[in-house]
């Protein structure tokens, strides 16, 4: 792998990007009069909250009322957080740049009904990440099918255990080198015309938050897996074109390029866009009703080719995660600082 390649550097930076989290116990889960001190962690954007649950349990164990056969989950402002969604996507969707992101961890015997069940194998008594691994491989298989058709999903099904184990290790530890070896061996570039029946497709997952806050995930957040087809002439649709197709009723704010941040600079150079970053003056109503599209904590220019975005910023499950939410006119999204939302 050529480490001087700017696009490879970009994907590595995405993987290195971290979010600062403060984890506390809920008062009604605690057996002693004083709440233990919160735990501070820096977690990778493309990691999962469940990977730190065991460490949190060990840290808080003495204070807990009930300690047996626990199934941990995290909560933000009373909202149980879906454990299968990458941390960075949850953060971009819900946190409104709160830093550190203040979460509560709970240790019930089973997941609450609002969250996916944590189906563990019978032999496991202690908490293990088996269900998260199943979700990852299911997603990877779906992405492999989108990129390579039946061959892709078959190759995933036939992958030998050793290779799957090391892939899983790379994802849990967010180890770029290990993961990259695997990706190259699977030949998953969506622009290779492997699926002969139809145009190449790019794996995309979108989370759409309609309102100002989220109190009920199933009512307030819409999620979808929507592969986007490349055009017949081989051109990738832009982010703006794809969003207008999927959300025809929404108006998307064009990225305000104030030139800040290393990630933003690379984005601009690589897409070879014009330097004209002016946006048209909009009425007050337009400003308040606009939506923004966020990828890895930054707001890419709407003219960015989706294939480029996917290639440089896809998650470990090979999907590009796009967050769509109302623009908050009083709160600017950082346009491109590395590790945005999390500090250094």
């Amino acid at each position: 792998m050529d480490n001087s390649n700017p696009t490879m550097r970009m994907l590595m930076k995405t993987w290195e990007s971290k979010i600062s989290i403060r984890i506390s116990l809920a008062a009604n889960d605690v057996s002693c009069p004083n709440l233990p001190l919160p735990m501070m962690v820096m977690l990778p954007r493309y990691g999962f909250l469940q990977t730190v649950a065991d460490k949190a349990f060990q840290s808080f164990e003495r204070a807990l009322i009930s300690k047996h056969d626990y199934t941990p989950y995290f909560e933000y402002n009373g909202l149980p957080l879906p454990w299968q969604v990458p941390l960075g996507s949850l953060y971009d969707l819900l946190a409104d740049d709160q830093s550190p992101w203040r979460l509560i961890i709970r240790f019930p015997s089973a997941m609450p009904p609002a969250l996916l069940p944590w189906i563990r194998s019978d032999s496991e008594k202690n908490f293990d990440l088996g269900p998260l691994r199943s979700v990852l491989f299911s997603s990877l298989k779906e992405a492999a099918f989108i990129c390579r058709g039946v061959d892709g999903s078959n190759d995933m099904n036939m992958m030998e255990v050793g290779k799957r184990d090391s892939l899983w290790e790379s994802v849990v530890k967010v180890d770029w080198a290990g993961y990259n070896n695997w990706i190259e061996s699977m030949d998953m570039n969506p622009l290779n015309r492997r699926a002969q029946e139809a145009l190449p497709r790019i794996p995309i997952r979108i989370f759409h938050r309609k309102g100002k806050s989220v109190s009920d995930w199933s009512a307030d957040v819409k999620s979808m897996s929507r592969p986007i087809s490349v055009q017949e002439d081989g051109r990738s649709p832009t982010l703006g074109e794809a969003l207008n197709d999927i959300f025809p009723e929404l108006v998307f704010e064009e990225e305000q390029n104030d030139g800040g941040g290393l990630l933003g600079d690379e984005l601009m150079r690589s897409t070879e866009l014009s330097e004209d970053g002016d946006c048209e003056p909009s009425s007050k109503d337009q400003v308040f009703s606009q939506s923004v599209a966020i990828v890895c904590g930054i707001q890419p220019p709407l003219a960015t080719p989706l294939a480029w975005l996917h290639y440089n910023m896809h998650a470990p499950d090979f999907f590009l995660y796009i967050i769509v939410k109302p623009r908050n006119p009083f709160h600017r999204v950082e346009s491109g600082s590395v590790g945005s939302g999390g500090g250094c």
């Binding site: 299911s138 099918f145 039946v150 099904n157 199933s218």
Partner: protein, 216 residues
């Protein structure tokens, strides 16, 4: 594999056929009441009851139309003293795999969701399939229902494109996608064939569409 529009047209036609048939299960088209973006318009749905007292034979009642907004009034009151599990089955189009996918969930009469182990006890054939394929290539998993966004279970569609290609090649329906109504016919044929593979694991009979066609 089929396009979404072929799926929807075929599904609506299938629901229409089912409405003319007696007996169960009666599939119907549930329109999504919250079509806000390029979401699917709806899905095929059927309700199914498992009576835990196996000696009891009660006729399956035809389901009423219900809004997709989780309307519990659709559940019928049963004679007291009978243990039963209520199931919902939804057929939803997967844009990734471009095939239908079977989603399901179970509840007790008071609305408590059934766990995975309880569900497998209700469907022995499904349990065998799950035991054969587990871990990284599970046959059944839980995920967010694509239209309702609550946790449901689904049967993995990764094998569907392969077995459907084989099945449809053998059937050789003439003029599948030609002429008016071609998309609907293709979608309907696809669904009927697909049902014959996935429904038996749940002890459900595929609807007898040929009879419905002949009756018109």
């Amino acid at each position: 594999m089929i396009e979404y529009i072929e799926f929807e047209e075929g599904a609506r036609a299938l629901a229409e056929c089912c409405s003319r048939l007696d007996g169960s299960p009666s599939w119907e088209w549930l329109a999504s009441s919250r079509k806000e973006s390029l979401e699917d318009s709806g899905c095929l749905a059927v309700k199914h009851v498992i009576y835990l007292d196996k000696n009891l034979e009660l006729p399956q009642e035809k389901e009423e139309e219900c809004d997709q907004q989780e309307d519990e009034a659709g559940m019928k009151a049963l004679p007291s003293g009978i243990d039963s599990h209520f199931y919902d089955f939804h057929v939803i189009y997967s844009h990734s795999y471009r095939v239908p996918v079977l989603w399901f969930r179970g509840q007790t009469p008071d609305g408590t969701p059934l766990g995975f182990t309880q569900i497998l006890q209700d469907f022995p054939q499904l349990r065998s399939a799950v035991e054969r394929m587990s871990g990284d290539s599970a046959a059944v998993s839980a995920n967010e229902h694509p239209l309702l966004h609550t946790p449901w279970y689904f049967v993995h569609p990764c094998q569907t494109p392969s077995f459907m290609s084989l099945l449809l090649k053998e059937q050789r329906h003439p003029a599948d996608s030609e002429g008016k109504g071609g998309g609907e016919r293709k979608g309907l044929n696809f669904l009927v064939s697909w049902f014959s593979v996935v429904l038996p694991a749940f002890g459900l009979q595929p609807p007898n569409i040929d009879n419905a066609h002949n009756a018109t």
